[in-house]
Symmetry: C2
Subunit: 390 residues, 2 copies
């Protein structure tokens, strides 16, 4: 019986790749519903090509546009309720959670409560609400399979092993576009040079997060929740070629690593087909191309965002929410030319310093902390026009 799939966030890059994977294996995967935020034109295209039974758009306006262009027998639901509905449909067995940002959290939690297997690509779900999500998953005996390439690698390296015998999760990091710059050079880093990243052509937000290594910081927190390891047992190593996607060390000194071509279709397909592996022919790594792999220990002075993430993760409560929200806001300000590159980390640090955290927060408390951090960063940025942030 093929997996019956809802994609939350189908119009983004993970969503699009997920549709490709589903299409290649019709005997294994069947699309039930597509959900997205505001991108009506991409959704119309997807509905015409992939024929889901249900559609949901977060924005009422976008929903209206979609309705006009697609066959009338396909219902187009709206808002958070619409997304929750397609995530919990009786016939659905698997939900891909790929909506970017905190909007992805409520429908993902609803899917978990409805007992659906989760393919997780939404960072915020675990960073801000890891305690809620993992507890719901346990209660409902739901598997959460990571889609992110680093976490997928760790998941694969833990497969068939006894987790208690693992001593360390080792996330690999590209080091970003400013990998070889000094702190001093970073002062003048521009948006243009930051976006000129060698390996992936990613979105601008992720590219900046990769340059500050905040992406790794968020991944550390995700790994903590997803695999249940304490922060002392989660390490990061810089590996510019991005061939090794992450590793797990065991107590006998063995390290298991997962490697391959850096292409999101591999972890997406793995998440959907797990515990099986299906054919993906064009993904064969040519060993003659893998001539050299480099590794470098992370210099925390050079990448203070990694340090901030460990701190926020260790303190827990609403700190990771503040870390994430302050970072999102600061990156947006940097991309708009309103703050400098090194002010991103300053904003995040200041937000963490000023925050009065709530422990074991509810969804509402998470939402409040998120808004508080965003407003604080806006104020900091305004203040910065007359000088330094701190």
């Amino acid at each position: 019986m093929p997996e019956q799939i809802t994609i939350l966030g189908s119009t983004g890059s993970i969503g699009q790749s997920t549709l490709e994977v589903i299409k290649k294996h019709p005997e294994k995967f069947e699309l039930v519903a597509l959900g997205a935020g505001t991108n009506a034109s991409e959704m119309i295209k997807q509905v015409k090509e992939h024929r889901p039974k249900f559609v949901a758009m977060a924005s009422e306006e976008a929903a209206e546009q979609v309705r006009k262009e697609i066959p009338s027998q396909i219902p187009v639901l709206t808002g958070e309720e619409g997304l929750k509905e397609i995530a919990t449909l009786e016939e659905v067995t698997y939900v891909v959670s790929a909506i970017v940002g905190s909007k992805g959290l409520p429908p993902t939690l609803a899917a978990i409560r409805a007992g659906k297997t989760i393919g997780l690509a939404n960072k915020e779900t675990l960073v801000t609400a890891g305690h809620l999500v993992m507890e719901e998953a346990r209660k409902n005996q739901v598997s959460i399979v990571p889609i992110d390439s680093e976490h997928s690698a760790i998941f694969q390296c833990l497969n068939g092993e006894n987790k208690k015998e693992a001593t360390r999760l080792i996330l690999t990091a590209s080091g970003g576009s400013f990998r070889d710059w000094s702190r001093d050079q970073l002062k003048d880093a521009t948006v243009e040079t930051a976006l000129n990243h060698p390996n992936f052509s990613m979105g601008p937000k992720i590219t900046i997060d990769s340059a500050t290594m905040m992406n790794k910081g968020l991944e550390i927190i995700e790994a903590h929740w997803l695999f249940g390891f304490p922060y002392e047992q989660i390490d990061v190593v810089i590996h510019p070629q991005q061939i090794i996607h992450s590793m797990v060390e065991y107590r006998d000194g063995s390290i298991m690593a997962q490697l391959g071509i850096p292409d999101m279709r591999v972890p997406i397909q793995y998440a959907l087909s797990y515990p099986q592996r299906l054919t993906l022919d064009e993904m064969k790594l040519d060993l003659s191309e893998m001539s050299r792999l480099d590794f470098r220990v992370v210099d925390v002075e050079r990448y203070p965002c990694v340090h901030l993430a460990y701190e926020a993760g260790r303190k827990g409560g609403t700190y990771p929410t503040v870390l994430n929200a302050a970072n999102e806001e600061a990156v947006a300000l940097f991309l708009n030319g309103q703050i400098k590159f090194l002010e991103i980390e300053e904003c995040v640090e200041e937000a963490l310093n000023q925050h009065v955290a709530v422990q074991a927060p509810s969804l509402e408390e998470i939402e409040l902390a998120d808004q508080w951090a965003r407003e604080l960063v806006m104020n900091l940025a305004n203040a910065s026009r007359s000088g330094k942030i701190r």
Copy 2:
């Protein structure tokens, strides 16, 4: 209940490391018997330190020496029969097969027939008699766990996976002491330079096999039998640092790799404790030391022994026996200064060319082919004094 262990070949380097591992985990491993060939003095030392219940020496003379020096209540058996006896003792649950050469084969087969789990470090067992050994293992539902670091790595990379989804086994090779020499330079390679190998301090035979890459050739044949993969699906890649011990590629493009400090205690302990992993603290790989890993595709022109091993493996029957015996003899002649480095491969090739193979050979037919190949190489070497081998 601790594993009750017999070590066949305790006085060699694998045997010695096995004793170290056993000593560290008395709650998991209990030594029952030690077996060896002729090294009486090392055996006397081992018996005094590790107190086995039984001893066996292949040589009657060595047995006599041992008897004189150890407590009289410990029986010292002799010959092939003695080795078989300690490999099949009722109380024994696990046999480490580490006798070098074809002498290891009969007691290993006896242990399999007696239903003992096998930790396999003896190459000849699979190279010359893979068809017999694996069939007996199947019939007796016996697990054969590899001790060799490359095969242990592959074993670990297949753990928890569906073997049918694996598309390629990738053995890593150091490339040996002449890695960066041209074919032309190899003509004058001496014993001294060959033995100056950077990573392991191995025995002279293995060091030469590593320089010709015949060790990888033999490992290819072992991997074929051990994991049941056809030769087209077994590859070799040169990896000078020997940090990645081998890899397995899956049909979705993912490659799983096992890495760590190159120390035989890791795979030995894994083989004994599998499916558990026990602590081995001093084996932690310092990631800051793993600054760079290199990979290079094997040039078959440069390493014809790899090509010869594929050929012998594909043809099957007594060809792998001839490959191994001719190589052993030729390496001994090279170490004695009687032939040149490049004549090793010529001897092996000529032996394979002249051989009339027996398919699915019995132990006796294997023994005959082995002797035939050794004699042929001796004759070739005598002939070579008056010119080239072929």
